[in-house]
């Protein structure tokens, strides 16, 4: 079975929306990733380390040492290993790499999973998940006569529609699908324009 794909980028993106930058920023802030997993990992590591250090120091000050850390080995390592030893260079490299990763996680916005929608309510931000929008647009594509099913992938700046048709002749279908998806997308009034790419797979005997 051969598959013929008609991937056609739209000549025009979805119509520009009358939204201001403050609404777009507020929506982006409301729906950006919360960095929960990195926070839990870093918090747990620091909590465990600090707790063990506190137990070790306090027990020593109380002259009733509870050996939870390899203090002897650490002291021997620190007092007998020169500062220019390659081990310290490795330690510095690891610390720097971890530090860069955490700073990058802090500043990088993260992968968005919500499409911000325009709203006239100045005190509200509205968004629809990528999965929810995909389903809406797929249903719009499936309303076109000759389209059996469709899958839609949402990106930050694009919408990719993969539609399947039981027909052998799919002439004109891609434009109809593009029109249906574009119209449905415009009804939701997303804050950011997206180009719509349509691929229609036709039936081959």
């Amino acid at each position: 079975m051969t598959i013929e794909l008609h991937a056609v980028p739209t000549a025009e993106p979805t119509p520009p929306l009358p939204v201001d930058r403050s609404l777009r920023r507020a929506t982006a802030r409301a729906f950006r990733p919360r960095r929960v997993v990195p926070a839990l990992v870093v918090g747990a590591v620091l909590a465990v380390g600090a707790t063990l250090a506190a137990i070790e120091i306090i027990s020593r000050l109380a002259h009733h040492r509870v050996a939870v850390l390899p203090v002897g080995w650490l002291a021997h390592f620190g007092t007998t290993t020169d500062a220019d030893n390659v081990r310290f260079l490795v330690i510095a490299g690891v610390l720097a790499a971890l530090g860069l990763i955490l700073v990058a996680l802090a500043f990088w916005p993260g992968r968005r999973r919500v499409v911000g929608l325009a709203t006239s309510d100045r005190d509200a931000v509205v968004g629809i998940t990528y999965a929810g929008m995909s389903r809406q647009l797929a249903r719009a594509a499936e309303t076109v006569d000759g389209i059996a099913r469709a899958k839609v992938a949402i990106g930050r700046r694009r919408v990719a529609v993969h539609a399947a048709s039981p027909l052998r002749d799919v002439t004109g279908l891609k434009d109809q699908v593009r029109s249906a998806v574009s119209g449905r997308l415009a009804e939701f009034a997303p804050l950011r324009d997206r180009k719509i790419y349509v691929a229609v797979r036709r039936r081959e005997d």
């Binding site: 409301a30 620091l46 600090a50 220019d84 530090g99 955490l102 802090a106 005190d123 509205v126 009034a189």
Partner: protein
């Protein structure tokens, strides 16, 4: 939104501290400032460092206190990752000399959910009030059926929020509405 900002700030702080530590270790290794940091061909924990800790009796108690504070802060940070605590009540009387009227938050959230449930365009709406009694914030989650009417959804959300603000007698209730597959 606030926990997102807190997490990013704290991740930046920890990351920066690690970078500073890495820089210090490298500076020692490269003997950048040997008079201040020590020479490269001497142990990382040299005699002067050990003498400092030994000669100052406050050193280890302060280290212990710092470790305890760090541990508690980290436990707070981890606990903060849980969903924001729902508000219990809203204060409706700004002048407390006249007494206070508190409206249970569930009255408002259930009203919002019932309002959003009208019509076929939103499924299983869920509302949650967070923030403080004086500065509440509203979070709304709702599902969209595949053939939902976006204009009707938008109108329904706007009308519901307008009625909600009228009920709490304030125009400022920051709201986040998240629609999806439910």
């Amino acid at each position: 939104m606030r926990i997102a900002r807190t997490n990013r700030v704290l991740l930046c702080v920890v990351g920066t501290a690690l970078l500073v530590a890495a820089g210090f270790v490298l500076a020692r290794a490269e003997a950048v400032r040997p008079k201040d940091l020590g020479t490269a061909h001497s142990p990382f924990v040299n005699a002067s460092t050990r003498a400092f800790a030994h000669d100052h009796g406050w050193f280890w108690p302060v280290m212990a206190a710092v470790a305890v504070v760090v541990a508690l802060l980290c436990l707070w940070w981890m606990a903060a990752q849980a969903r924001p605590r729902a508000l219990r009540g809203l204060r409706r009387e700004s002048d407390t000399r006249r007494g206070t009227t508190t409206m249970p938050a569930t009255v408002l959230t259930e009203a919002v959910e019932d309002d959003l449930s009208v019509g076929p365009d939103l499924r299983r709406p869920r509302a949650q009030l967070t923030g403080s009694a004086r500065r509440p914030r509203l979070r709304v989650f709702a599902g969209l059926p595949p053939d939902a009417d976006p204009a009707a959804v938008r109108d329904r959300v706007h009308e519901t929020l307008a009625r909600m603000r009228e009920a709490v007698e304030t125009d400022e209730v920051p709201t986040v509405v998240r629609l999806g597959r439910r």
